[in-house]
Amino acid sequence: MFSPLDDLTIRIGGEAGMGLESSGVGFSQALVRGGLHVFGFADYHSRIRGGHNFFTVRLARRPLYSHTEPVHLLLALDQETVRRHIGAVVPGGAVVYDEKDGLPEVPRRPDVQYFSIPLSKLAEEAGGSAIMRNTLVFAVAAGLISFDPAYIESVARDNFARKGPAVVDANLRVIAAGVKASRPFQDDFPFRMEAVPGAPRRLLLNGNQAFAMGALAGGCRFVSGYPMTPGSPVLEWMAAHAEEYGVVTLQVEDEIAALCMAIGAGYAGVRAMAPTSGGGFSLMVEALGLAGMTEVPVVVYEAQRPGPSTGLATRTEQGDLLFVLHASQGEFPRIILAPGTVEQAFEAGWRAFNFAERYQTPVIVLSDHYLATSVRDVAPEDLNFDAVVIDRGELLTEAELDSLEGEYKRHRFTESGVSPRAIPGHPKAVYASSSDEHDEYGHIEEDAENRRRMHAKRMRKLETARAEMRPPTVYGPEDAELTFIAWGSTYGPLREAVDRLSEQGVRARMLHFADIWPVPQGVESLLTGETIAVEGNYSGQFADLLRMATGHTVSRRILKWDGRPISPEYILRNTEYAIRTP
């Protein structure tokens, strides 16, 4: 176990509509400004009011990649929070609750402290409104862990600046009141995490933001979407930046239209994408094949949530992998990326568009609720804008177009499978592609030999692309006895689990796949020893995919499908079990 002096988790719980997530993110921001590392995630219901919600922020003096299960400080805005989370509090930890709420009638834990503070009352007195008790209770938390409240004040100043000085002042008063209210309990609370003054500036963001930023940096200039949790914040982020960066964004009538419009834009020569979740992706399936057949570059961002169907709209799962891999009738090349961290999400943003244009085919970026909405701090250089490349592949330049001879062949047979592409509008490259099988010009053609060659030409692109897919990240010793396999958002929890196993003397490593399809070359050689797939789904889809693609059968699968993210502890518990049982 890590010393709690390095690693602390604070959880705030209450009802939907209390604004826990936004105040939690604000508090996280303050922690980051104070030089700490954080990992924050929200747990909330698919409804606007009622239902138990909570936000958890883990803070530490070293970079964090995941949440963990134990809670050191529980900020309870209702009795339900105590009822549900008291079990997660570590011995010596504390619960802060509102005097007016009182405690629920559950046995008190002798090893946990209960701090009663008149949160609502103090918020009302200091700020004028009881709803400011979120802010207040975070100030209490800061006080308890000896974190300098000046950072919370600075965030409040920035966040409320738009609302005028009166609102800012009210917030500052509430913060002061919170810090003051924490004083009587400070000595009793054993866990401390002071700010690190002068630490280098870091950024706080979630996977959706990172991906959207990467996409913008990669030249995405068209986004069409239909609201759907947890993918559509990418549309909203782009809309917010549309005017400044020259991006066309639209909310449209449905996901069918969303992808069709993006394909239209891609066909016309603009880097385009459609963000969604699995349900919306289901409606994009037919259009995906259109892009495959007519060789149109387009990107779909699919942030998974638990299915089937509407499922659990605000929760997480990795259940759509084999679906997106095989979606749409017939066969065509597609590329699938599944970033595991905000850094990878940023990269996936621009890499996706390069792949789409280089292979003239759809690219799917598979995210999930956990990655999409969890916030983490990174160094500015981790969002590596310098590394961004805009490679449009075999796109004919104006000069090349001017010197074209004869009728332009949009779908020319080539060895790589990629045909040099002209953006429509040039007099020498007038063409019409068809979703029917077609000849090199794009004209509808049913001839058997043409079909055989044209289909093979398209499919060849997959082999060409395979060569540039990145191998999995290997984390841990070469000679590991246990090789854990993960993809997408499981990166963080698994990385931490592997760290802990190493500390326990178990030689374990992680293979993390962010480039999923085509499966990178040479993967087989990494699949050695005892292999354990760790996935947030019921059946172990990536393990199935690996077996299909490589023949390798993983030794075990650690799976989870209850809609909640996998934690390092969950992996460790199940590993012990896996090691114990034959």
Partner: protein, 290 residues
């Protein structure tokens, strides 16, 4: 100067002899020549169906997409490059069954498309099932007892959706067809042109002879006011022995969608060079995260 021959494609139409699509095809080419749009300045988008193959037979930028998704694909093209005049040509099944929602959303969006419907009131390519514009009682393989549904009234629906240009023409009158398409090409926003297109193979009822005595031209009535929506609704409901053709409605009371999008103020998107973000842009983005 652009001429009709500029649009000549090496591919010969596979339409049946006598098919109403020939007239539409010719009218589109004539209209384009008349307004002086060259093959590389337009994009003709088809769906799937007999008529939807028009782009294959026409030398012009084109795209043959999915059954029913003609309009959203065309919308994306238009927004990516409004330097191209974008024309949709698709069937009544494509437009009014699978695609009805898209068309009405395009109308209220007022996106700059000329939307030509090859309305043969039957499914041609799939060999003769009834379509959304088939008459009630129409007997086909999928409606052996005669269709129960009221036919779609595309004119009334487009009006109700807020279309700013709504017209009808028919394959029996090449001049009227050409004129109507020319007028549509002159419109800024979404322009619906529903065309009665006889299908000589699967729809013997709605033949040239059926339409000829029935159609009359709205524009022959000098008092007809194309900006009067209630008048347009009244004509839209006219059906039976007398069927109006021509422009039912045209207003420019609101800008085209693409004229409103902030990112398009600087001109069409596609031709712009694609460059990496500038350092101060990156700085501003990162500023949001601290």
């Amino acid at each position: 100067m652009v001429t009709v021959d500029d649009f000549a494609s090496p591919v010969r139409p596979t339409w049946c002899t006598g098919c109403g699509n020939f007239a539409i095809w010719n009218a589109v080419k004539r209209a384009l020549a008349q307004v002086g749009l060259a093959p590389h300045q337009v994009m003709i988008v088809g769906g799937i169906g007999c008529g939807s193959k028009l782009p294959d037979y026409t030398r012009a930028n084109g795209y043959m997409t999915l059954h029913g998704r003609t309009v959203p694909v065309a919308t994306g093209i238009r927004l990516a490059n409004h330097g191209l005049r974008v024309i949709c040509t698709h069937g009544d099944g494509d437009a009014y069954a699978e695609g009805l929602g898209h068309m009405l959303h395009a109308a209220r969006r007022n996106i700059g498309l000329v939307d030509i419907i090859q309305d043969n009131r039957i499914y041609g390519l799939t060999k003769g099932q009834y379509s959304p514009t088939s008459d009630r009682g129409r007997v086909t393989k999928t409606s052996p007892w005669g269709a129960f549904e009221l036919p779609v009234n595309p004119i009334a629906l487009a009006l109700a959706a807020g279309a700013t240009f709504v017209a009808r023409s028919w394959s029996g009158d090449l001049n009227h067809l050409t004129e109507t398409i020319v007028r549509a090409l002159g419109h800024r926003g979404y322009a619906l042109v529903d065309i009665f297109q006889p299908c000589v193979t699967f729809n013997r009822q709605n033949s040239y002879d059926y339409y000829r005595p029935r159609v009359y031209k709205l524009q022959d009535d000098p008092t007809y006011d194309v900006t009067d929506k209630m008048a347009a609704f009244a004509r839209a409901l006219e059906w039976g022995d007398r069927i109006p053709i021509g422009v039912f409605y045209q207003v420019e009371d609101r800008p085209a969608y693409e004229e409103q999008v902030p990112a398009l103020r600087a001109g069409p998107l596609a031709p712009r060079p694609l460059e990496k973000l500038r350092p101060e842009q990156i700085r501003r983005l990162l500023e949001e995260l601290v």
